[in-house]
Subunit: 342 residues, 2 copies
Amino acid sequence: MEQRTELSTLGEFGLIKLINEKFPINNPETLKGIGDDAAVIDSAGKELVVSTDLLIEGIHFDLSYCPIKLLGYKSVAVNVSDIAAMNAIPKQITVSLGLSNRISVEAVEELYEGIKAACDEYKVDLVGGDTSASRSGLVISITALGFAEKEKIVYRNTAKVNDIVCVSGDFGAALMGLQTLEREKQVFLANPDMQPQIDKDRDYVIERQLKPQARMDVVYELRDLGVVPTSMIDVSDGLAAELLHICKNSGVGAVIFEDKIPIEDQTYLTATELNFSPMTAALNGGEDYELLFTVKQEDYEKIKNMNDVSIIGYITNDVTDAKMMMKSGNLVNITAPGYEHF
Amino acid sequence: MEQRTELSTLGEFGLIKLINEKFPINNPETLKGIGDDAAVIDSAGKELVVSTDLLIEGIHFDLSYCPIKLLGYKSVAVNVSDIAAMNAIPKQITVSLGLSNRISVEAVEELYEGIKAACDEYKVDLVGGDTSASRSGLVISITALGFAEKEKIVYRNTAKVNDIVCVSGDFGAALMGLQTLEREKQVFLANPDMQPQIDKDRDYVIERQLKPQARMDVVYELRDLGVVPTSMIDVSDGLAAELLHICKNSGVGAVIFEDKIPIEDQTYLTATELNFSPMTAALNGGEDYELLFTVKQEDYEKIKNMNDVSIIGYITNDVTDAKMMMKSGNLVNITAPGYEHF
C-alpha cells in the first residue's frame, strides 16, 4: 500500500523546512530566498516583469487524471510562458499552496517534485510563498518574476502593418489531450473496475495537456539571432483569440493561411476520432502555451530557419480584423468564442 | 433590497475592465500594469523585495463578520506590512481572486473598493492578477513588490548583542477584536433574530482585527532619522514568536520588560471581560502587524522620541533564548505556541 502521512504530522514549519532543503538558490541575483518577511532580488539594472496565476482544483485541474507531480510542473511552466511572452528571462517564482486534508505529505512532496523539475528546466529560484490549509480543494498561486533590458521587452500592442506573423510549435494538441483524458475518466466513472487505458498513439496530445512547455528556447534563439519581435503573446486561450488580442491591441489586422497552421499528425488523428475539426481545435483549443509573435519583414532572413517556428501570415491595415486564407482561396473571418471562466 | 448582480453577467473581461478603470497607475516605475502577459516595472537601480500571501475563506477570514471591503483592505495591508518589515517601500501589488458564485458583482466591487483604499493609503499600483471561478469559498492571493537601496534592506537574522529592542504600536488588540467578533457570531448563530451588538467600547480592538495598518509611517520616520535597524520583522504571529524568530535567526538572546510591553486600555478591559490574560494576548495574540526591530545603542538618541515606538528590551548573548523581566523582578522564559495552520 502506498504510504500516506497526514499533513498535520509535518506542520507548517516542517513543510517550510522541506521546501527549503529541496530548493537551493541558483541565480546570483537572488539575494535572499525563503526565510524572511520577503525575498530580496537584485534587478541588475534590468526591467522587472511580473506575472501571476491562480489555479483551483475543480476549475483548472482535475486530480483524477492529472498526476500531482505534473500539475506542479505545469503550474510553473504556464507562468514562465507569460514571462517568455514578454521576451524576458524568468529568474524567480513564489508558490503559495492551499492544502486540503485530503492531501497527504507524500502528495505535497510529489507536487514540489514537479515544481522543482520545472524550476530546474527554466533555471528559476523558488524564493517565497505561503502555505495554509484549505477547506475545499487544492489551491496553487504562482507569481513569476523575469528580467530583460528595456529595449528587449515585447508587448502585445506593438505589431505593425506588413510584419510577419510567426508561431512556435503546433496547435490543438493540448485540447485533444484533455478530450482524451475526459473520455477515459467517463469510462472509468461508468465502470470503476475498468482501468483507464490510454493508447500509446495518444502520448503526444496527452503530454501536451499534462506537461506543457514554456518556449524559452524560442526566446533564447531570438536573442542569438539578434531579433526583437515587434509584438508577442503566449497562446493560452487558443491561437485565434491571441491573434485577435494582438490585432485589437495594436490597432491592426492580420491574414493567416490555413495551410500554414502547424498541427501534429496525432492531433489530426485524435480530432478525427473524437469528431472534432482539427482546424477548430488548432484555432480555438486552449493551453498550447506556444508563442505567437510578429517580426519586421527585414528580419525574415534571420528567422526563416528558426527551430520549430512557422511563418503563418502577415499583419494588415484592416483594423482589428483577422482573416484566414483557406486552401480553397476563400478569405474567412477569424472569431474566438469568449473564454469565460465564470 | 440590496442589488445583487450575478458574476456571470459581468464575465472575466468585464471584470478586468472594471479593475482597469478603478486602478490607474500612479508610480512612474510602473511601466506597464494590467493588460499584457505580465506587468513591467522599472527597478530604478534598487533591490526588489517580494512578498506573497494566500487568504482562503473559512481559514483566514469569515465573511459572516468581516465586511468584504475591509477584507480587501486587510489583504493588501498585511502584504505591505511584510515589505515594511524589510525596510523597503511598497510600489506594486498583484491580486488574484477565486470567486464562488455565492459572490455577487456588488460584493466583488466592494472587495476592490477596499483593495483600492489600501492601494491609495500605501501608494501602490495594482499591476496584475488573475480572476477565476472557485468551487468553494473566496480565495485571495496577493503578491507585493517593494524596493530599497541594498544597504537599507533589513533582515531578521542580523540583530547584534546589546542592540535595543523596539516595537511600534501596541499588542493583543487584534486577538481581542477577533474574540469579540467570534462571541457575537455565536450569539447570532444561537438566535438569528438577535442582531450582533458591538459595544462602542470595543471599537478599537475590532478595528485592529478588521482593518490592520502596515506601519509604513515607522519605515519613513526611520529614514528621516537616518536610522537603519539592525534587524526587523513584522508581528503577524504574536510578539513572542517574532522575537524568538529574530533571536533564533540572529543567534542571539533577548530580554524584554513586562512593564514596557505596550497594551491599550481597551485591550486590557476586553481581555479581562473575556477571561484572557492581557499579557498572554499581547505576547501570543496574532495579527497585530506592528514592527519589531532592533537598533544599535548609538542610535538611541535618534529613536527615543519616535512616534508610537516603544523600547521594550535589549539583545543578549544568551543564544536563542528570550526572556521577560517581570514587574516582580523574576526573569521568565518566553515561549510561543507553534502557530500551525494545518
